[in-house]
Subunit: 404 residues, 2 copies
């Protein structure tokens, strides 16, 4: 049974992480970004509960803040998340790890000074930006102090935090849903290096539902599996991917596991769609749906192989219904196939039937910004979709002139 | 022990498939290409031997000529190879396979009419071009007849055949080496859809060495493993990849397996370098060398993961020594790593030592057209290299406007 979609409301949506009761947030400009834009964000859980769960990058090269946050999450408790843009603090060695530790210590001490008693072991840290440089701690720590000072609920706090984590993002990304008796909200950043294992991004989610860490963890993993894990812009997975879910229990309502998972999934799905829409240089937003697979995992594997194929992606940029490239990409998926059973459609327009071109296939109109690519394998009943984008001049331009 | 490199000679090199004794070739314009350029090629082995070996695409979606040629190669004998550009004859169903069969039949019958007795089962067929359309047989078969008429040895035949298989290639690609007592030559086509499982291309190699099909097969597989299989321009593997090696025995010289493998490898290496140099839209020619791996296969896996990373490739296009993206790509390779042992250099200039940025890393000069990217894993003694290119505006331009 599919649970009913939670009602959405723009006012709630635009509060993001502060939509749920028990949370405050802030975003300040600490001078990490040359532009002078906001670059330090803080999300604080005022309780009464402090349960938390996290999912992290599968990249073996993990940034210092990922190593730190994985460690503190083993307790299933978080009071705060401090985030910075303007530097990933990845590949920075033991010194970089000490910087993350110092950031958590400073956050905890400053919060305690303002009346929220906490220790560094209850503070997660997230960083995003260029890989390889140490963070300017002389700017970051005063920024954290200011972020504590600026903490606010309602519209302002969530919005400022969402802006402070932006890198090449052009818009802040927030979402929230009010479910029956509780609320889930969140923000996300990410515009490039977007691939599986979490679509290279930072996401902080909050809920006022009453739920222990294990329940939050199960809901978060299931939500990520079907949303962020199925967004693949360029096949590149970052060193810093982090998705956190904090529960305050402030609603005093205990949803069922299914209700909580549905609400968290709805927020993640909304944020994933926003990440795709803002992907670097993208001119097309493409949903690749593979049906007729033996298993859901095989459907995902085929869709992901097509989503990563440079020739399919450049054809989409050119609005070219080049279904032969789709077949060639499908044929390289790590799944046993029957090529003469494969059907392909663009936006419901059949271009390939039984592995052979359909009449009028070259005339399919792909000029729209949103494209649905449907691939039926004829092997079973499983279906899955991957969200991706085209490979455009804008992507090449933006990514050939990022660091220097 | 590395065998000595065979001597090369431009006159020999420019004969390509007709450099070895016992071979004739031709290229004609049959009207398959709208441009009116050459589009049908023929290579004939006049013996006395007719041993042959082939290696084909690993794509599960295989073009009709691949299915045909794999079948005829099971005998280890070939008299002729007929090739066409202007259409891949892939995803064309049973009708497309009948077209390939008819092409082989017509080639055999025409050759027999000119005194070279052969049957269709001794004729391999290769096709390249757009996937999904049937070939215009009313043009192709007369073209085959003309190609038989035009067969020639020496400089002319090999050169015309090499030109007739070009698609988006800008130059014909030929190579040949004179070893001790025998010669190996060949041509190649391929400029896009270049990836492992043979770098999406057609290659015909010839030798006048005396060698049976099993010896040719072993030499060809070893040569492909270290040359074409380590060229990865865009990660896309075609439906039509074919590499054939034909032996005439006309030199009456029987080389050792090592001598034959060395000569075939030298020709394949030369052709692979030419394929990289002519890759669609490439502005950089990059060799990624991974050392310190536990096994050669693991070294290849790491190098290939980096070679396919869009963010590494766009950084190279921008001459940006963004070693953080290299580390992030390495971290996603399907190999167990120790991130804090990884060193990275560009052209011998260290940019990352022990997983951390080296002093002056951002100043590495990548403005040259040829770039060497060296990655040392610190895990073992195995080394391997992959040839690749950058991801440029030219690649996007060429591939967003190919079929329509």
């Amino acid at each position: 049974m599919t649970p009913p979609a939670p009602a959405r409301d723009d006012l709630v949506r635009n509060q993001g992480v502060t939509a749920a009761a028990g949370f405050k947030a802030s975003g300040v400009a600490a001078g990490l970004k040359a532009s002078g834009n906001l670059d330090v964000a803080l999300v604080v859980n005022e309780g009464p509960d402090h349960a938390a769960a996290g999912v992290f990058t599968r990249n073996q090269v993990k940034a210092a803040p990922v190593l730190w946050s994985q460690q503190v999450l083993t307790t299933g408790r978080l009071r705060a998340v401090v985030l910075n843009s303007g530097g990933a603090n990845a590949c920075t060695g033991p010194g970089g790890f000490q910087d993350t530790h110092a950031t958590a210590e400073h956050t905890a001490a400053t919060l305690s000074g303002w009346g929220t008693g906490t220790g560094a072991a209850e503070v997660a840290v997230c960083s995003t930006g260029l890989i390889g440089d140490r963070l300017p701690m002389d700017k970051l720590l005063p920024g954290v102090s200011e972020a504590v000072h600026e903490l606010a609920g309602g519209l302002g706090g969530g919005f400022d935090a969402a802006r402070a984590v932006m890198t090449t993002d052009t818009v802040p990304k927030q979402a929230a849903v009010q479910a029956d008796g509780f609320t889930v909200g969140g923000f996300a950043k990410g515009a490039g290096m977007l691939a599986p294992s979490l679509a290279t991004m930072l996401v902080v989610l909050t809920t006022d539902a009453v739920a222990d860490a294990a329940v939050l963890d199960a809901a978060l993993r299931e939500a990520c599996r079907t949303t962020f894990d199925r967004l693949d812009v360029d096949g590149a997975t970052s060193t810093n991917d982090t998705v956190l879910l904090l529960g305050s229990g402030a609603s005093e309502h205990t949803p069922t596991a299914g209700e909580l998972t549905a609400a968290v999934t709805a927020v993640c799905d909304d944020l994933a769609a926003q990440l795709m829409a803002d992907a670097e240089g993208a001119t097309k937003h493409v949903t690749i749906t593979v049906s007729g697979a033996r298993t859901e995992d095989e459907a995902v594997a085929v869709a992901r192989t097509v989503a990563r194929d440079s020739l399919v992606k450049t054809a989409l940029f050119g609005s070219d219904p080049n279904w032969g490239r789709v077949l060639a990409a499908v044929g390289m998926a790590p799944v046993a196939l029957e090529p003469d059973r494969i059907d392909v459609s663009f936006d419901g327009h059949p271009v390939c039937l039984g592995g052979v071109g359909a009449p009028g296939a070259r005339e399919a109109d792909l000029s729209a910004e949103r494209i649905s690519l449907e691939i039926a394998l004829g092997l079973g009943d499983a279906t899955a979709s991957i969200r991706t984008t085209d490979l455009s001049h804008g992507y090449v331009e933006e990514n050939s002139a990022y660091s220097s």
